[in-house]
C-alpha cells in the first residue's frame, strides 16, 4: 500500500474521530451557540488526491458523512452535504486553479500550492458544505437568514480550526 492511501485512511479516522469525540462535545459545551459549530471532517474531502477518480471521491465522502451522522444522530444530513461538496470539488478546483495548473500526482495542499491558495480553496468548499448542511438541517427555507447566519458563523470558526490543523500537520501527500 502506498503512502497516499495510508495518509488518507489516517485522515479519515483522525478528522472523523476528532469531529465526533472532541469538536461535537465542544459544540455541546457552548450550549445554545449553534451559530458557531466547528466542522473539521470536510478537510478529509478537500485533501483527497487529484488522481483519485471522482466516483471514489463521491463514495468516500458519502461514507465519511454517514460515519459522522452515526455519532450526530442525524442520519443522512452530513452525508448529503459531504456528497454535494465532493460533487462540486472539481469545479472549485478548476475555478481556483493556479497559473501553472495542477500536477495530477499532487494532493491539493498548502505545501504544494501555498497558504493563500489553500485558504481560498478551503473557504469556498467549506461555504458550500455548510450552506448545504444547514439548509438540509432546517429542511425548509422559512428562515433563510438563520441558515445564512449559521453558515457564516460556523464557516469562520471552522476555517480557523482548518487553518490550525493545516499549520500543525502540513500534509504533503
Amino acid at each position: 500500500m502506498n503512502r497516499t492511501i495510508l495518509n488518507n485512511i489516517a485522515r479519515f479516522f483522525g478528522f472523523g474521530l476528532a469531529q465526533v469525540f472532541v469538536l461535537k462535545e465542544m459544540n455541546l459545551w457552548w450550549a445554545g451557540f449553534h451559530y458557531f459549530q466547528i466542522f473539521l471532517y470536510p478537510l478529509f474531502i478537500l485533501l483527497l488526491p487529484f488522481r483519485a477518480p471522482q466516483q471514489l471521491i463521491l463514495f468516500l465522502s458519502f461514507v465519511m458523512g454517514i460515519f459522522i451522522d452515526g455519532f450526530y444522530d442525524s442520519m443522512g444530513v452530513h452525508a448529503s452535504a459531504s456528497v454535494f461538496t465532493a460533487a462540486l470539488r472539481p469545479w472549485v478546483l478548476a475555478w481556483v486553479a493556479p497559473r501553472g495548473g495542477y500536477d495530477s500526482k499532487h494532493v491539493p495542499t498548502k505545501a504544494q500550492y501555498g497558504l493563500p491558495w489553500f485558504l481560498r480553496y478551503a473557504s469556498i468548499l467549506m461555504g458550500i458544505h455548510l450552506l448545504f448542511y444547514f439548509s438540509v438541517e432546517s429542511f425548509t427555507f422559512v428562515n433563510p437568514f438563520e441558515i445564512f447566519l449559521k453558515t457564516v458563523g460556523s464557516g469562520i470558526i471552522s476555517m480557523i480550526f482548518i487553518w490550525m490543523t493545516i499549520m500543525i500537520l502540513n500534509p504533503k501527500e
Binding site: P53, Q55, M75, S80, V83, F139
Partner: protein, 291 residues
Amino acid sequence: MRGLLQFLYANSSFLLFILLEIICFLLIINFNEKQGIIWWSTASATIGAAEKTKDNIAQYFALGKENRILLDENAALRKRLHQLLVMQGDTTVGDSISRENLPALLKDTANVDTSKNEYSFISANVINNSIVGTSNFLTLDKGKRHGIKEDMGVISKDGIVGRVRKVSEHYALVMSILHKDASIIASIRRTGAFGGLQWDGKDARYMYLNNIPRHLEIQMKDTVQTSHHSDIFPKAILIGTVDTFYAASGSNFHTIRVKLNNNLGRLQHAYVIVNKHYAERSDLEAQQPNE
C-alpha cells in the same frame, strides 16, 4: 443500447452523485424526526391539493353523466311526490307535475306530518375512495360543520355505501361496506328473512349474506335490502340481488352471494343519513339487562 451505455459511462460520476443524494434524502426523511415531519406534511399537503384538482377535473368530465343521473333522480322524486299527494287524498293533482306547479305542490306536502320522519339526508361528494384490499375507506367533503357525526350511515343513489367512522371539521371518513369489519343487517324483500351482510375482501361486486336459516326458501334474483332492524339505515333501501346461494353440508344456514346494485368504484355523490333517534335508541339498547 450502446449509446445508452456510453451515456451512463460518460456521466457516471454525476449519476453516482444523484444516487448518493437520493439515498441521503431517504435516510434523512426516514430517520430524522424533524425533517421527516416537514417532508410528510409538505408531501401530504401537495398530494391533497393535487388530488383535489384531479377530482375537480374528473367531476367536470363526468358532468354530462351526472346530469343524466340527476334528471333520473328528479323524475323518481317527482313520481314519489305525486304518489304522496295522491295518498293524501289530493285528487286534484293531474298525471303530470310540471315545472310551474311544482313549488305549489311542494308547499302542499309541507303539510304532511313529518314529525314521525326519523331520517334526513346530507348530500356530499366522495373525494377519496378505494375498493382494493380488505380495509376500504372513503372520504367525504362534508364533516362536523355540516352536521355529520360518527356512526351515521352513508348511501348512494343506487345502494348503501358504508358507515361514518371519523369526522373532522370539513371531512368525514367512511368505512366502506367493502371492509372486512363491516357488517350490515340486510333482509330479503320477498320473505323478510334477515341476516348479516359481509364482504370477503375479494370481488367488489359481491357481498355475502349469512345467518339465514336453511329452512327458509330463497330464490335467485331475490331483492336484498336494508332491514328494519338496522339502526343506521332506513328500511328497504336497495342493496342488491341474490346471485348464488348454497347451504354447506352440516351448516344450518344458507350462504348467499349478493350482487351489489351500486358500483362502489365509481362513486361520486353520497348521502349521509341523519337518524334523529339514533342516540336515543342506542342508549336504550345499551341498557338491556344482561341476565
